[in-house]
Structure formats: C-alpha cells, structure tokens
Symmetry: C2
Subunit: 277 residues, 2 copies
C-alpha cells in the first residue's frame, strides 16, 4: 500500500485508527476457551467488530511468541484473516546485523506478508537497510516511544558531532535517530513510532520529519490524548496512524467483548472524523 | 546456570566458545534436504560435532522466523536437543514496553526454556526489567555491536547530563548504556554484547563493567581477533563467551559439514586453552 493509497483510505473512511491485537491469551473471555484456537477466534471476532472503524491492524508479536510455535500459527492465521483493504503492521521491534535483519524482513514481509514491521534503531543503518529494500513495504522505526524508559536514552542529549555530514547542534538521541534515519528511507517507505504520551515533543518531531507517517501508540491504557496528537502532528497527508490495543480489544472481558470493542473503536472513529474536518 | 557455574565449566573444559546456530535454510547441504526437517537435522549434527569444543549455543531467531511457525518448531526442537550441560542463548534482540517485554521474556525463558536472551536497550529500563526479573536466567543487553552501523548511534557522543544521578562527563552512547544498565541488573543476571570488531574499545568497556560477562560476536566471518579480545577483556572469572556462527557451521557446504565444523571449533578450543593459561 502506497502513502497515497493510505491517505486516500483514511480520507474516505474518516478514521486513522489502528487496532492493536495485543491478544494476551490469559485475557480471552471464558466462553471462547472451548475453541480449538481461542486467540484466533477472539481476533477473528475483534476484526469483524472493528474493521469499519479502523484502517490498520497491528499484531504485537510478543503476545504470540509466548505461546511458541502454536502462537506463530495463530499469528499467521490472524494476518490472513485481516481484510486486504486494511494496512497490516507486525509490531516486532526487530533489528540486527545486515544478513540477520534480511531474514527478519523476509519473515514479516514474505512469509507473513505484513505491509509493515517495526524496527529498533540502536544498531544503525545496516540493521535497518534490509527492511527498506523491500518494495511496497514499510519500515516503522522507533523514534520516541511512549514508555517511561524513553527518558533513559531516547530523551538524553547528544553532543554536537565533529564528523563531516553529521549534525552539529546539540539534540536529543531520538532527534538524532529521526534526522539520520530520514536519510536512509523516504516518506514513502519509512514511518516512525512516536508515543502518544510524548505530546510535548510532537511539534518538534513534526518539524524534523514533516512528510513522514507516524505510528502513535499510547492512546488508551497508556493515557495519551488523541486530540492533542491530532492537533499537533497531523500533516497534509494526515500522517498519523493512532493505535489503541487494550482499550479496544479488552473493553469488556465478558461475552460482549466484540460489541464493546465496536463501541470503543466507533468512539475513536467519531472523534477522528472531527479532527479530519 | 549461575556465573560461578559458567566460569567453572569454562575452566574445566578449556573453552569459552559459543557456537551460533544461524542456520540459513538455503545453505543446508543438499544431502540433508530429504529429511523431514533439514534445518533440525543440520543443527543436530552440528551440535553433536561441536559440543566438546564449546560451552554455549546461540540460536539466532531470525533464521527460524523466516520459515514461519515451522521455523519456530525447528527452534523448539533444536533448543531441546542442546545438552543440558551447555548454556543456551536466544539471540532475539527483543525489547518493548513493560507488559510486552514480559511476554517476550516468557517466550524465551519459559516456553522455549533458554538460559539467556539478547535484548535491545533503546527503550530504556522498563523494556529491560521484565527479563531481569526471571531468576536463574540471563539478560544479554546490546552494548557495542560488531556491525558498521555501530557508528551511527552507539559510537556517537552524548552531552554531559544535567539530571541528578546521571553521568556528568561526555561519553559515547554505548558507554551510557553500559553504565546505566549496570545499575538495573548485576553481573549475576546481566551480560553485554560487545562486538569482536570493536577491539579498540575493549579496554574502556572492561573498565566500565569489570565483573560482567560479555557475549562477543564478530569473530570469524566478521573478522574480529580472538587473541586481541582475550588479551584485553578477560577478567578473573573469564567473563567472555566468544561466538562464531558461519565460520563453524558453514565451514564446509558438502557432506563433510559436521567434520569441518568440528575442525574449526576444535581450532578455537585449542587457541582458547592457551588464552586461559
């Protein structure tokens, strides 16, 4: 899916919601436990219940890997079930030396056929490049994350660089990451993860990367504000995929979980329509 | 396995070699292709051929994930096959917000029962903490990696921090990571990845973290020197697990791959004996 197609889909549906399938097996409602694969059945019903209110689904690989190979099968079935109209993200936060990253890229772009995968920047360019080399696929690099630990390194100040071609002003690590990585890809194959809880930084982030899409987690259970993000970070192509996971999929722990998910997703959809004007 | 047990095993066997099972399915010798699971059969023969010359095996998850759920099954069978005498590492480079990292920790420490997992530091303390909370398990945090991209962020200079309790001197990002993360765990549950190609930095690294074990990739195909690493970074408890992957497992692409692996692993073993004195 191209950037133009993604923007067109957001404009036509009136939503930039991404539903996060962080499906913790221990939180599946009891009445689904008799299914052969309760996590898949849960995901299937959540997808049916939310697809009219979102443009993307994000599968958090951790919640599948904790069940081993069986969990990977559930992930494969789930990504297959997502309607082809929707943008699919493997929230995997991978990254390793070049020949290893190439295998991760194949895992998520070929074997599982996701549209996008999240990647960690610590190891630098050759750890990210193999993901960018896939045409019609997206790399979503961690920029400024939503968790408290963002202060440990991401928000620490870098010294001006003395090397030619590197930034000469003081800046934070995540700003260095955004500036540097923006040169590795383009707004047509690279997005950034910017946490919704980091609203103070959204204006600065948008100044650094005016044309990129952001995947924004942290609305809902983590407390970020959809209005503030939208006011500060929307660009001419919308440029935002706002993710909610637990707030949608575990809106109810009872037999009405799917209806409850529809209700919460529809609420985001309604608010997003107003932000889209 | 405790640090004392690991050191004792290294002293008694005379080797601190870790064999990396970066088993690229496209590089398996032809004569194994008739097996139901050629990658598992390859790994099984490699383990038999090298176990007397190493103390650890490192499974690089990327090379299994690129085959999907089937690859995860192969990984499960492989880790089960590794003798219980040997230290097992999932080279997975995971890291995410706390409740997600907790699922990754369960995936590798419980479901797959590895002794250790590699973790990426970018997202800070709460992304690492869930791994450290497992008793009798090891977190191996990326410090200074062996790849060219290390220069993009890891080797960039941080400004002195103005915050109380944070470092006040100029230092490189990876040094900040080592110092900060050393306070999250102890030398009994935390190791660092330090690339063999970064030999210039080994003395500085050892000064910062005198008691920690290092997992050292980059010997062999990437060109790092075993002698230089051992001279500069061995501590009183040895403190080194030196990994070789492709140089051992793909020493021959023919029917003699296992004998060739034995030969290369035995060569490292012999050299390590002399470094252990």
């Amino acid at each position: 899916m191209t950037r133009q197609q993604l923007t067109a889909m957001i404009r036509s549906t009136g939503t930039y919601l991404c539903v996060g399938l962080d499906t913790d097996p221990s939180k599946i409602p009891d009445h689904l436990q008799s299914h052969a694969d309760p996590v898949y059945e849960f995901n299937r019903q959540i997808i049916d219940a939310t697809k009219d209110h979102c443009v993307a689904y994000k599968i958090n690989t951790a919640f599948y890997e904790s069940s081993g190979a069986k969990g990977w099968e559930t992930m494969e079935k789930t990504v297959d079930y997502i309607p082809s109209t929707h943008f699919t993200i493997a929230d995997a936060k991978r990254g390793d030396i070049g020949n290893t990253s190439a295998h991760y890229a194949r895992a998520f772009f070929e074997t599982l056929n996701f549209d996008a995968v999240t990647v960690a920047p610590y190891m630098g360019e050759d750890s990210v490049r193999p993901f960018l080399e896939f045409t019609d696929k997206w790399t979503i690099l961690l920029g400024l994350t939503s968790n408290p630990g963002a202060k440990d390194f991401e928000l620490q100040k870098m010294a001006p660089s003395a090397e030619p071609g590197r930034p000469t002003s003081e800046e934070l690590l995540y700003e260095r990451v955004l500036k540097t990585a923006a040169g590795w890809g383009t707004p047509d194959n690279l997005m950034f993860v910017i946490g919704a809880t980091q609203a103070d930084s959204f204006t600065a982030v948008r100044r650094l990367t005016p044309d990129h899409f952001y995947l924004v987690p942290g609305v809902g259970a983590q407390g970020g504000s959809l209005q503030e993000i939208s006011d500060k970070a929307m660009n001419k192509d919308v440029g935002l995929l706002v993710n909610a996971s637990r707030a949608v999929i575990f809106a109810s722990s009872g037999e009405d979980f799917a209806e409850a998910a529809t209700r919460v997703a529809a609420g985001y959809h309604q608010e997003m329509k107003t932000h889209l004007g």
